[in-house]
């Protein structure tokens, strides 16, 4: 494959971008190709191949970002985007520095490029999932699974002389089961994905189908969730979405700089008990939220955001770092060349603690076990969050007892973070897709079991 953009083309575009002034200009070019397909009603369908090539050009001047993008990677296309980005500026031209190529090696080697794997094998994988999901029980009424692969080759050049790139391949499968008994209908879902090639599916990928079916079947026996405030034990893996929402977003520097985060002014303060240490790590090998560089060309890194309960760092992209006079933490991410980079999480997790999950549950007299979530949402400014529980149970006298349906956890970030009173010694990472400012990016979430002393469970049983 040829390079996404030649350095001479990038240099010319940067010069044109600064033709009417500006302190900084950048070209982000991208070539992507992907394939998705699904199985539903035991039929392979929705086979879809997509490709895109284009570039986004931005110019920073004063406090303003001027941005344009173009579909197409011909030099003329990219220059047109540069001209359009510069069109609204009214100053004297500025000179970009000559480009100095840097080629970071990706810590995420791809063993089996998915594009080289015959489509029939991908269809066969979906049929395996379907068979496993449907075979999990007579009450499985519906089963769906999906497969997605994408390769994104990106290049970043800027007026400070940076010229770098990344070659990113991701694969992901998802399974969703619907169980039915009389009038009761329940669903269960599970995913598996990574910054990996088709080798990710070597080790029993259909296990996610069985897991999705198990979740749906368990809920058939569920009773309505309780409503009220109680201790909550959050499961490992996708339970980490709780930390992603209630803390991660509030640490993104754009929210901080606008005063729209509950963590404003709290750097260095104790915001959690000392048993909580947490990271954002864009370098975890093969993880779903990992990349070699961010979408501004800064190397990704491991950032300790909570150190033994103390708020240790915010997450920066280039623009917010420039404002605070610090270095980017490699968190400038964007959905595609059609979007501006903003501070985003990569893989965010609470580091494992000391206690066995069973022991943590045994200490709860009456509470709720939120084993897995369907997702969540937070308003970083107020700290109010909400999570939909996809698999939940009552805890009675230190034991996990009956499954509950329809539970939602709500609360406030600062209170909930401070109320974490146990962190388990288990650990798991899961894949998610995070939305912010109208852009979706792949993120990893993780943790072991975590207990929150008191939290509001919103169920239907008053």
């Amino acid at each position: 494959m040829s390079r996404v953009i030649e350095p001479e083309v990038a240099e010319r575009a940067l010069a044109r971008a600064l033709a009417n002034g500006g302190e900084f200009a950048e070209v982000f070019a991208e070539r992507s190709a992907g394939l998705t397909m699904a199985i539903d009603e035991s039929r392979v369908e929705a086979a879809q191949a997509g490709s895109a090539g284009g570039a986004g050009v931005r110019v920073l001047s004063g406090g303003t970002t001027y941005f344009s993008y173009v579909d197409g990677l011909d030099p003329a296309d990219i220059e047109r985007a540069a001209d359009e980005a510069a069109a609204a500026l009214r100053s004297d031209s500025a000179e970009p520095r000559p480009l100095k190529a840097a080629a970071p090696s990706s810590p995420h080697p791809i063993e089996q490029p998915p594009a080289a794997v015959p489509a029939e094998r991908k269809a066969a994988l979906l049929r395996d999932l379907d068979e496993r999901g449907r075979g999990a029980g007579a009450e499985i009424a519906q089963f769906m699974a999906s497969y997605a692969e994408v390769r994104r080759e990106v290049a970043v050049a800027n007026s400070e002389g940076l010229f770098t790139g990344d070659d990113r391949t991701r694969v992901r499968i998802g399974a969703q089961a619907v169980a039915r008994r009389g009038d009761s209908v329940e669903t269960g879902a599970e995913t598996l994905g990574g910054h990996r090639g088709f080798e990710l599916f070597e080790n029993d990928p259909a296990a996610i189908a069985a897991e999705a079916a198990r979740k749906a079947l368990i809920l058939l026996d569920a009773s309505p969730a309780p409503a009220g405030s109680m201790p909550v034990v959050v499961g490992g893996g996708f339970g980490g979405v709780l930390f992603h929402e209630m803390t991660g977003h509030g640490l993104e520097a754009d929210h901080i700089q606008k005063g729209a985060s509950v963590y404003v002014g709290k750097l260095g303060e104790q915001v959690a008990q000392p048993l909580v240490t947490a990271y954002d790590d864009g370098r975890m090998p093969g993880e779903w939220g990992s990349d070699a560089i961010d979408d501004e060309g800064a190397p990704t890194q491991k950032t300790m955001v909570i150190e033994q309960g103390r708020l240790a760092a915010f997450l920066y992209d280039g623009l917010t770092a420039r404002r605070d006079g610090v270095a980017s933490t490699g968190n400038g991410r964007r959905e595609s060349f059609r979007h501006l980079p903003v501070p985003r999480m990569t893989n965010t997790y609470i580091a494992p603690g000391e206690i066995e999950p069973e022991a943590m549950i045994a200490e709860v007299e009456r509470g709720f076990y939120a084993k897995s979530f369907a997702g969540g949402q937070v308003d970083p400014a107020t700290g109010d969050f909400v999570f939909g529980v996809s698999e939940g149970y009552l805890i009675e006298a230190g034991q996990v007892t009956r499954p509950c349906r329809g539970a939602t956890l709500i609360g406030n970030c600062l209170q909930a973070l401070a109320a974490i009173d146990a962190v388990g010694n288990d650990f798991e990472m899961k894949t998610g897709v995070c939305g912010k400012a109208g852009q979706k990016v792949p993120v990893g979430t993780g943790q072991g079991h975590v207990r929150i002393g008191a939290m509001t469970v919103g169920g239907t049983e008053v």
Binding site: G50, A119, G228, G259, A260, V386
Partner: protein, 460 residues
């Protein structure tokens, strides 16, 4: 854009497809973000792309791309035919056929008028320069700051517009093109008080910037943020609930999703097997109208070229029809309701709502509160994508709002959930207010406030 679409159909047939359809879009868009009296970012760009469906017998595949050169379209055509070979046979798969017979109008008003598409393009988009819309965005922010001294700032004021040209062509003889413009503005205002920070969203939408009222957008954001100062949790109980139009719209959009024949046929809708049965209180009248002059989803034809129309969904408390695209209509022995939606050229068509419209009632907002007596007024919900089971219709979502005491608004409430299921909620709709507005969350919806007889409120 019709030329590349036609060429793509020809090339896909040449690549071995027995049928083909192409959908091409060109979209010129602008976005302005403002913060602290300054323009934070200005984006102006044109994007284009094309999506091709290829059928080989009853197998279907899809490919999309951004390269509209002859070579690019050739590659796309090859790829679409190639991936069709991976799919299993589906006897109902095939392109839309015209002329489309319209199903008898379920509302009993006789056959519908032939569709005349409203004018969807607003010249004020072209008349407003980038500097003009930047000024409009700054005006939104100023209005929020000036509305109330307790407004400490805004997270962001945003303006965005789009002028798109959409074309579709198929081997079954469909060929059409239209132009449509739209814009919106919003602000996220921040109010500070002794016990914390509150946010409030103000927004407006229309076909062009002339239709937006920046002062009203700013004021709404400020009012919503300051209204929440001092909010606390309500007591857990089951009580009457009044849904503000933006909240009602989110639920109406979920209901619209359940009325998709695709969800129904695959046994994934709470409305399956409820056709022509009682599903709602008499007060809830719901239409899907793909031709409404104000609706942002209006178009002369849907995502596969079938004319858009007005569909009566719920009238007299009865479910009148599901929404069909060509595939689900063939499969269900029905006729397309012009409901094939597209998320742009990057997605294949599937059944979706166009503009969902809840018929307003006659009672004012104060009357609705009086009728509620003791209850909760919900002004915001969160976690809809994770708190709703779209198959069973069960939901539990985070909410904030105000208490209703003695038929009047009382103290602000936050950090509680409302829970029910979609069908029970519809049946419990007692009154629709007169205060309808367009809301763009989760679809294009116009709805007034709704009074729900009872919902579970979980707080402390």
């Amino acid at each position: 854009m019709i030329e590349p679409a036609r060429r793509a159909v020809e090339r896909t047939l040449a690549a071995g497809a027995t049928d083909a359809e192409a959908y091409a879009v060109e979209d010129a868009g602008r976005e302005v973000r403002a913060h602290g009296g300054e323009v934070e970012s200005l984006t102006a760009a044109t994007q284009r792309g094309i999506g091709v469906r290829a059928w080989i017998g009853h197998r279907v595949g899809y490919a999309y791309g951004t390269d509209l050169s002859d070579a690019g379209i050739d590659a796309l055509a090859q790829r679409a035919a190639e991936v069709a070979g991976v799919a299993d046979e589906d006897e109902f798969a095939g392109p839309a056929e015209l002329p489309v017979r319209l199903i008898p109008d379920m509302g009993g008003k006789g056959a519908p008028e032939p569709a005349t598409a409203p004018d969807l393009s607003d010249p004020s988009i072209a008349a407003y320069s980038l500097a003009d819309v930047a000024e409009l965005t700054l005006a939104i922010e100023r209005a929020a700051l000036e509305a109330d001294p307790r407004v400490a700032g805004v997270e962001q004021a945003v303006y965005a517009d789009s002028n798109e040209r959409v074309a579709i062509a198929s081997s079954s003889g469909i060929s059409g093109e239209f132009e449509r413009s739209s814009c919106y503005g919003y602000v996220q205002a921040l109010a500070e008080s002794g016990d914390g920070r509150e946010t409030g969203l103000g927004f407006d939408l229309g076909r062009g910037p002339e239709a937006l009222d920046p002062a009203a957008i700013g004021r709404e954001g400020a009012e919503r943020a300051t209204a929440m100062i001092g909010a606390r949790k309500p007591e857990s109980r089951s009580c009457p609930v009044v849904l503000e139009p933006t909240v009602a719209a989110s639920f109406v959009a979920l209901i619209g999703g359940g009325l998709s024949a695709g969800a129904v046929q695959r046994g994934r809708s709470p409305f399956a097997e409820r056709l022509r049965t009682e599903v709602a209180g008499e007060a809830l009248v719901l239409h899907d109208d793909g031709l409404d002059p104000e609706g942002s989803a209006s178009a002369p034809f849907d995502g596969e070229g079938v004319p858009r129309r007005r569909n009566a969904l719920i009238e007299g408390g009865t479910l009148r029809t599901y929404l069909y695209d060509t595939y689900t209509a063939r499969r269900g022995g029905a006729t397309s309701t012009g409901s094939a939606g597209r998320g742009g050229y990057r997605s294949q068509p599937s059944v979706s709502t166009s503009n969902l419209i809840v018929t307003p009632g006659t009672l004012g907002f104060e009357d609705l509160l009086r009728e509620a007596g003791e209850g909760v007024y919900v002004t915001d919900v969160a976690g809809l994508h994770s708190g709703v089971n779209p198959v069973s219709g069960d939901f539990s979502v985070g909410a904030s709002g105000r208490a209703i005491r003695g038929g009047e608004l009382a103290e602000p409430l936050r950090e509680f959930t409302v829970a029910s299921d979609l069908v029970s909620m519809l049946r419990a709709v007692r009154l629709a207010g007169a205060d309808a507005r367009w809301v763009p969350f989760g679809g294009s919806v116009s709805t007034p406030s709704l009074l729900i007889e009872a919902m579970t409120v979980a707080g402390s």
